[in-house]
Each structure stands twice: as C-alpha cells, then as structure tokens.
C-alpha cells in the first residue's frame, strides 16, 4: 500500500467527455466515472431526468500518487466547476498496489 490522494469530482453530465479529456491531458494516472447522478446544490435541483445532461451530474474518482499532478488536476477542473457548478473533494488514502 502506498499513500495517495483520492480526488472526487461531481460535475455536470454534459461536461463529462470534456472533463475526461482534460484529466488525460493533465496527466491523471486514470479515472473512474459514474454517470447520471442527481443532486442538489447552490443552483437548485439536478434531477437527472432530461436528455441534455445539463441537469444531471456525473462523478469522477481519481487516485493520484503525485503531488504535482494533483495540483494540476485541481487547478484544471476549478474553472469548469465555477461555470458548471459541482464539487471537488480531495482526501488521503492508501493505494493497494497489485
């Protein structure tokens, strides 16, 4: 097991592909994506009930063992979040190596 950061991003579904591309560009070692979550925040309800994905959330999970990449990711998604709404949480974890 080796220490790493666990990044969790909730963002508009409509931006999922763009966020995935951005993560790859910023050097994330990988990510897992859960589509079609609903939620509530400052911009009211997102019911995940329409077809454009503007009122639906998706969740990215990224394990990142490199401080620098972490900073890049956080700074990279910040402007997307301020436009689309959503949250980004960073916490400590142990990464089980296989």
């Amino acid at each position: 097991m080796k220490p790493c950061k666990r990044i969790e991003i909730v963002i508009e579904q409509a931006l999922a592909t763009r966020t995935a591309d951005l993560l790859t560009e910023l050097g994330a070692p990988g990510f897992t994506l859960i589509d079609r979550a609903s939620g509530r925040g400052d911009r009211g309800y997102r019911r995940a009930d329409e077809l454009t994905g503007t009122s639906t959330n998706c969740i990215f999970l990224i394990a990142c063992d490199d401080e620098e990449t972490l900073t890049k990711i956080v700074e990279g998604v910040r402007p997307m979040l301020s436009i689309s709404g959503g949250i980004c949480l960073v916490s400590d974890a142990q990464w089980v190596r296989h």
Partner: protein, 334 residues
C-alpha cells in the same frame, strides 16, 4: 372554431402529455426511467427520419423542394438574430445568445406530434420536411455563438470562456452536425431514401404501428419533465423573473410563427407542409442546442434558456400552438 383545439386536446398523445404534467404537479412518483426516455426519443427520430427518407425517395426532388430546404435553413439562421435583439436588453449577452440559438433551432418532438396531428386529420404532408427539420437543427447554434463573440466584451470572453474558448467555430459546426439526434435523423433519412418503399415494407410495422403509442409514452415523460421545470422556475436562482420568462416563451414562438407563415405563403406550400414549417420555426430546441451550449457557451445559464424552451414554449406549442397555427394556415394560406 375552438373545435380545433378540442380535437387536438383529446388525441391520446396530448392527453398523455397532460397526464404527465399532472403527475409532476401533484408530486406523484410516476417516472419513466431515463434510459427508456432516451430510447423512446431515439425511436421517434429513427422512425420519422426513415419515413421522411422513404417519402423523399418516391417524390420528385425538384427545384421547389430545394427552395423549401433553403428557406428552412435561412429561417433557422435568421431567427436567432431577431431573438437576440429582442432579448439583449433584458438578458446577459451569453443568455441572450444561447436563447437565440435555442429558438432558432427546432424541437423534433413538436414536429413529430404535429405529423401525428396531420395524420389523424388525413392532411397530407411531404417527406422532405423531415429533411428541413434535420437541416434546421444546427445553423442556429453557429449563429448564436457568432452573436456572442460579436457582442461580448473581450475580457468576458477570455475569463469566463475558460472552457468554451478552446472551441473554434469549425469545431462547433462539426459538433453540431455530430450531435446524436441530428446524426440519427439525417442518417435514417438517408437510409430511408436509399432503401425506398422496399425497405419500408420490411420495417413498416415497427415504424408505423408503434409510432403513436411510443409518442404517447414519450410525451407522458415530457409532461413530467416540463412540469418539474415549471415548478423549479419559481424557486431557482434564474437571472430572470419567471414572469418575463413566461412572456418571452410565448411571444417568441408566436413571432417566429408569423415569419414562417409569410415564408410558407411565398413558397406556396400546401396545408400540411405549411403547418410543419411553421411548427419548426415556432418550436425551440431542448436537446441539441442546450447540449451544444453547455460546451461552447457554458457561461449562459441553462435555467434560463432550457427552462423557457422546455417548460413554456414546448407545452404551449403542443397544446395551443399547433391548432392555432393550423387556423392561421387556413385563414391566410388556403
């Protein structure tokens, strides 16, 4: 006189739309699963595209058809200008541009419902209007973004455009034609046109016999979604008062309908075709354009333009617009 409205209101698709709206109004947990809703929508695009293509393959593709298609594209590109200048005082530049794009484009489901309205009354319509619909989806997106770039202060574009800025105009054109719905309608249209009536007989039952039933279920879902949006409009932090959103959501389609009536008169269209062209102009996109706007113009607030399109204009067109425009056609065009 008002029997047109009543006739329209008592068709199964409209009644299921209202049922859905009631369900959401009274907070019933009636709900169409999201993948099912997407499937129903794909089916409708597939079926209307294929039908249109088959119709195209059997009709003469002459100059008058080309004229209609050109006029349709021009209308889709002009309407955003009008909408933008109507709204620019009350909306932010981004919101005005996105709303303009939304109203320049079309709602496939409104179109589909109108074809079923015509079929129920045995009024003929031409397959190339499906092509017109497909061609009208995208131009408004490009015009809307152009309007934004022309009118936004450069600083705004730079700072808030952090995401959008990467998207070059050509990308937008490409992306808007590659939007799933546009691609599927155009593709099915071409396939229907290639296979012609022979291909039709193979999938006829799937396309013809399920059509109204699936439309009913899809409108049930749309009723739920539209009513939820309408209820959210009160609470949510939109940049605009709900009242003026309702106002504009009614005024704009009526204005566009007038423009389309004039065009239909110039083109000398028949009853059914005229009504469909009007419905295309008067309807607003709630899938392709909002999806594109979130990528290309994310600073525009979807709870303005999407809510207007989905919660005001869409129900208005379904319930009142179609029969109203039909009366207009009868008065002015025949």
């Amino acid at each position: 006189m008002d029997s047109v409205f009543l006739t329209n209101l008592t068709t199964p698709p409209l009644l299921f739309f209202i049922l859905g709206a009631l369900a959401a109004l009274f907070r019933s947990d009636l709900d169409i699963p999201e993948q099912i809703a997407k499937f129903l929508s794909l089916y409708l695009l597939f079926a209307i595209g294929f039908k249109g293509g088959v119709a195209l393959s059997t009709s003469a593709f002459d100059l008058s058809v080309v004229a209609v298609l050109l006029v349709a594209i021009v209308l889709a590109a002009l309407v955003p200008f009008g909408v933008y200048f109507l709204l620019k005082r009350r909306f932010s530049v981004a919101d005005a541009a996105a709303t303009a794009a939304t109203y320049g484009s079309i709602s496939a489901v409104t179109f589909v419902t109108c074809t079923s309205y015509l079929d129920a009354q045995d009024i003929p319509w031409s397959g190339y209007l499906v092509a017109a619909m497909a061609l009208m989806e995208s131009p408004a997106i490009i015009v809307g973004l152009m309007l934004y770039r022309m009118h936004a202060e450069t600083t705004t574009v730079d700072s808030s455009g952090a995401i959008g800025v990467r998207m070059m105009p050509m990308d937008v054109v490409k992306e808007s034609f590659l939007n799933g719905s546009v691609f599927l309608i155009l593709g099915s249209l071409v396939i229907g046109w290639i296979t012609g009536p022979e291909g039709k007989t193979q999938i006829a039952p799937f396309i013809d016999e399920l059509f109204i039933g699936i439309l009913c279920l899809f409108l049930l879902d749309m009723g739920i979604v539209a009513m939820r949006r309408m209820k959210d409009m009160q609470g949510q932090g939109t940049s605009l008062a709900p009242r003026s959103m309702v106002l504009w959501g009614l005024v704009i389609p009526l204005g566009n309908a007038l423009l389309a009536i004039a065009s239909a008169w110039l083109l000398n269209l028949g009853e059914g075709d005229a009504l469909l062209l009007i419905v295309l102009c008067a309807s607003a996109s709630y899938i392709a354009v909002p999806a594109a706007m979130r990528l290309a113009l994310p600073q525009a607030n979807p709870s303005t333009y999407l809510a207007m399109s989905l919660a005001i204009t869409f129900p208005f067109n379904l319930i009142i617009g179609i029969p109203l425009y039909h009366m207009g056609v009868r008065m002015f065009l025949i």
